[in-house]
Symmetry: C2
């Protein structure tokens, strides 16, 4: 099964933008890219070898063996229900929290979830990105395993529940951390100091979390139970109720771990 | 004023461990390292050229011009009050949230706050670490400016209030983010997948926050207002009240920014 088969991408957002090019670089051929807005589809196909931008979900004439749905999680089922694919082809979505059965209209289905935050234009090292897949049967398993390992050295087969756990963990580690960076940015901006003074700290924090484990790596006033400093900081944030309340809750949670 | 003067370190924890070596590498001479526990002082001096470990705070015979207090924030004033230094020498603390006047027992005082999380044994690139200093007068200003710029290209003079803001920003970006990593770790561990699958995501998140700014870089279900996914995740966390409540609060705060 060393054949590099043909793929189509349904959706033309960040994930499609990234994965379509990545799979072509890995030797697969992208046949079509779908978007309701043809202009968006063209934006993605312009980066590809010879893919056709399309705005209809009827792929009955397509040569693709795998159709990869990269639309926002709440649109997966709707798109899948409209999608027409050739007999024997596989339909896959890429959502972290969408169940496999969102695709139940089709017989051969799977999920291929890359654990990364994608932004058009940002280069990404695919070999390090973990891919989590789920498959309706052995044929799909073999196909998705082959597809994922062509890009990444970290491929795991997990069920929908484990995938949701991974997605939630990613929300904490990425979306929520980023929200804390935004608060941090707001506090620093008021002093006139540029936000990027925090870069070495943020990088070292991430490094330590993966090097020693985040529990052992915890530092700061809360884990030291330095209640005086905590009070000072909470006072300082009096005019920012959202920041103040978050500071209290997070410090409280860390304090509990210190006990 | 190119003279590389002599220094003493009061305290033998992570900050002292790091800064004493860094200043010696930058050409300064460390005379003494103090700890109430001589063994801890020796652990630091063993890394230095010819520093003496001491367990008394009487430095009246010392040749040092600057005494750098690196003890936990709540001990700074107590240690400063006990500390005896030669006439004309400068006493400095390194705390983010400690006022300059904690050192008021002494006439020439300052603060030298390095914005980084220090762990013994971890190598750090000092040229990138921002140093924030505060000084009681022009003589101390000149001395601390000289000291800080010997290590770092990012040196800022700020008052106690701005320094506290920077410390609070650092708590959000480092200590609190790390707590989120710990939660993330806990969720992932239950699936049997290793925590380090999150490393590329965490690194890319940090990269994007400093590259585009954290507000513009926000991704995930909350900023997309994908209420269905948020509900799924909250349900998934039902048996973990702390995680569930944090998930709700942080998503709510991000949702507000999406409006």
């Amino acid at each position: 099964m060393s054949k590099r088969f043909k793929l189509s991408f349904i959706g033309a957002g960040n994930v499609s933008w990234h994965l379509s090019s990545a799979f072509e670089n890995a030797g697969f051929k992208v046949q079509e890219v779908f978007s309701r807005n043809l202009k968006n589809a063209k934006e993605v196909t312009s980066l590809l070898y010879d893919a056709t931008p399309v705005d209809k979900l009827d792929f009955s004439k397509s040569e693709s063996e795998v159709f990869i749905i990269c639309v926002s999680d709440d649109k997966v089922q709707e798109v899948s229900n409209e999608l027409i694919v050739p007999d024997g082809s596989i339909v896959v979505h890429t959502s972290g929290s969408g169940e496999l059965n969102l695709l139940n209209k089709h017989p051969l289905i799977g999920v291929l979830y890359p654990l990364q935050t994608f932004t058009k234009g940002n280069k990404i090292l695919y070999s390090e990105i973990p891919f989590f897949f789920e498959a309706s049967d052995e044929v799909v398993t073999e196909k998705l395993q082959f597809l994922a390992t062509a890009l990444s050295g970290k491929v795991y087969q997990v069920d929908s529940s484990a995938r949701m756990a991974l997605h939630i963990a990613a929300v904490f580690a990425s979306n929520f951390s980023n929200h804390l960076y935004a608060i941090s940015n707001e506090i620093i901006e008021r002093t006139g100091i540029p936000f990027d003074v925090l870069k070495p700290l943020v990088e070292e924090t991430a490094y330590k979390a993966f090097n020693k484990g985040p529990l052992a790596a915890q530092t700061g006033p809360a884990i030291r139970k330095d209640v005086k400093i905590l009070e000072k900081h909470i006072n300082f944030l009096t005019s920012d109720p959202e920041m103040k309340s978050l500071y209290k809750i997070l410090s409280h949670d860390i304090l509990k771990k210190a006990e």
